[in-house]
Structure formats: structure tokens, C-alpha cells
Amino acid sequence: MLASLTLILGCQLAGELFSQVLALPIPGPVIGMVILFAMLMIRGQVPAPLQATADGLLSHLSLLFVPAGVGVMVHLHLMAENWWPITAALIGSTLATIAVTALVMVWIDRLTGKAAEGESDA
């Protein structure tokens, strides 16, 4: 547990360093994810303690967004003035993005004959 948490934090730290030193437009944790992924590829398997730590962190992932979400209170005034464009753009654009991304992926998979690999019953 301690070793795997250290590994995860170490990857994040390395990611932050890369991001800062090379002035990359990608945030440190995302680079950290790539580093940890590369390490897993080299190792060829996920050690059980690392799996347990990751499960712990990811099982309540949405909780971690609450503090940033409360930041909405700082901009309530500006948002009240622009509530209609903001609501329209958020809903319209988010739905359009989800539909386009999913449909393009499904179509290309169908064209290349790779459909049905990740079928669900949803």
C-alpha cells in the first residue's frame, strides 16, 4: 500500500517535472499516467498492492471533483448575467461532442470490421 502510493506520487512528481521543464501543454498528472503506463508495459503485469491502491483512489473518483465544483460560487454573478448562452452552450456542445465521438468511432469500427469487440448490454 505504502510502496504503491509512493510509486503513484512519484509518477505524478516526475510528470509535473516533465511538464514544467519541457513547458508542455499537458498537465503533470496526465504525463504521470503515461509514465506509470509505460512502467506497467515493461513489467508486464499489475502488482496486487498497486491494483488495490488504484481501486481505492478510483472507486470514489467523482468525490474528488466536489471541492473544485464548489468554486462555482465565486462566479455566480458572471454566470447569472450569461446564464442562457452558458446553459445552451454547455448542454448543446457536450451532447454534440458525445454523439459525434461515439458515432464516428462506431462507424470506423464497422468499416474496418472491428465492431462488437466491446459490446455491452446497455
Binding site: 502510493l5 488504484a54 468525490l63 462506431v106
Partner: protein
């Protein structure tokens, strides 16, 4: 006995109070969500945010004071993002096999997010600040804020719009995907991550590990794609 105001002042000076309240508000949100039978509108993050904003407003507490406690939860976002490498690794064979579909759909999705946000915002009369803060809304917060800063918008407003985009996608995304007949876990996850970054990924992880892995991947790739595409588009148009 000291009066309540004094106790409140004492407690709110330590991180303990707002850290605990954040956990309670989220569990309350989860409870409501489960009680509603998983109705998407009762999103636990949304409920927790509403409860906390109401509480802070009623007690006259500033966001800065709140964040001193909540930052411990907020901090875990970084390690959790790194930990997304594990579902990604476990699903890598699937990712590799659909690399072409992923690449093309990501670029289409990224462009759709930017152009539709700017287009709808412009048509409905958004202010200049709002428009520029809306443009990178589908990207994970730290990247979106950096992009907005580059364009000359308001990074803190962007952070809020990014959150709201995430919640919107988590609430409406799975319903929309089912409605348009997308049942493939890979496509469902990838679309949620591309449009609604980490909050979409949290939602996708609830659907299945496959969806979660593809969603985390889309979040990372869309951060990269938008950071490159948006400033280019901006230069073309303005």
C-alpha cells in the same frame, strides 16, 4: 458554554470542518442518488456542490476558507489521474486494436467540442470573456485553464465551466448514447471522456472497466488535441 458563533469561528479556522463537510455532502448526494433509483439528474457531485454552496453562502464563508479544508480531497485528483494508467493497461489490447477509430473520433470530437461551444455561445449572445472561457470546456481543468489564459479569457470561470460540462456529460451522456444506439463500451467510454474529462471518466468507470479505461484515455488525448487545435483555430478565425 461558548455560543454557537464562537464555536463556528473556531471550527472553520481548521481544515477539519470543511474536509468533513465535503465528505458528508458527497455521501448525502450518493444516498439521494441511490434512493432515487439512480436517476441521472440526482448526480452526487451536483447535489454535494449545491449543498455546500448553500451552506457556505448561508454562513458567509468564503471559497478560500472552504478550500483550505477541501484541498486535501482536491489533492487526490492528481494521484487518481495517474492511477487511471491501471485500467488503461488492463484494456490496452482493446485500445491497440481500435487505434485508428480512436484517433479519428478523437479529432472529430475535439473539433466538435470547440466549434459547437463557440458557435452556440456566439449565437446566444455570450460575452467575450464567457466565449473564451467556454472554448476549452471539454478539457480537464488544469489544461483548460492554461488554454483560456493563453486566449485571454478568465481561467477561474473556465474551471467552473469545465466542472459544469463534466456534470452535464455525466448526467445526460449515458442516456444520449443509449438513445442513439451506441452500446459498445469502448465507444461509450471514449465519448464520455472526450466530452466530459474526469467527471465523465468517473461516470464511465461506474458503467464498466472497459468504458473507464477508454474514457481516461480520451481525457488525456483530448487535453493534448485541444491544446494544439484551439490556439490554431483561434488564429484562423480572429
Amino acid at each position: 458554554m461558548r455560543d454557537l458563533t464562537q464555536i463556528w469561528v473556531y471550527l472553520s479556522a481548521s481544515p477539519l470542518l470543511f474536509l468533513t463537510l465535503t465528505l458528508i455532502a458527497f455521501q448525502f448526494g450518493t444516498w439521494i442518488y441511490q434512493r432515487s433509483g439512480g436517476l441521472p439528474l440526482f448526480n452526487p457531485v451536483l447535489i454535494a456542490v449545491i449543498v455546500l454552496v448553500a451552506l457556505l453562502s448561508l454562513t458567509g464563508t468564503s471559497y478560500e476558507t472552504y478550500f483550505e479544508g477541501a484541498q486535501f480531497v482536491h489533492f487526490l485528483l492528481g494521484p487518481a489521474t495517474v492511477a487511471l494508467a491501471i485500467p488503461l493497461y488492463r484494456q490496452f489490447e482493446r485500445v491497440r486494436r481500435s487505434a485508428l477509430a480512436l484517433g479519428v473520433s478523437l479529432i472529430c470530437g475535439s473539433l466538435t467540442a470547440i466549434v459547437s461551444a463557440l458557435g452556440i455561445g456566439w449565437l446566444t449572445g455570450a460575452s467575450h470573456d464567457t466565449l473564451m472561457s467556454l472554448a476549452p470546456k471539454s478539457v480537464t481543468a488544469p489544461v483548460a485553464m492554461a488554454i483560456t489564459e493563453q486566449l485571454g479569457g478568465l481561467p477561474s470561470l473556465t474551471a467552473v465551466l469545465v466542472m459544469l460540462t463534466g456534470i452535464t456529460g455525466a448526467i445526460l451522456g449515458p442516456m444520449l448514447l443509449t438513445l442513439i444506439g451506441v452500446s459498445d463500451w469502448r465507444a461509450r467510454g471514449f465519448a464520455l471522456g472526450a466530452a466530459s474529462h474526469g467527471i465523465g471518466t468517473a461516470r464511465a468507470l461506474q458503467e464498466s472497466e472497459i468504458a473507464g479505461a477508454f474514457s481516461g484515455l480520451a481525457m488525456g488525448l483530448n487535453a493534448l488535441a485541444t491544446a494544439i487545435l484551439l490556439p490554431l483555430l483561434w488564429r484562423l478565425v480572429f
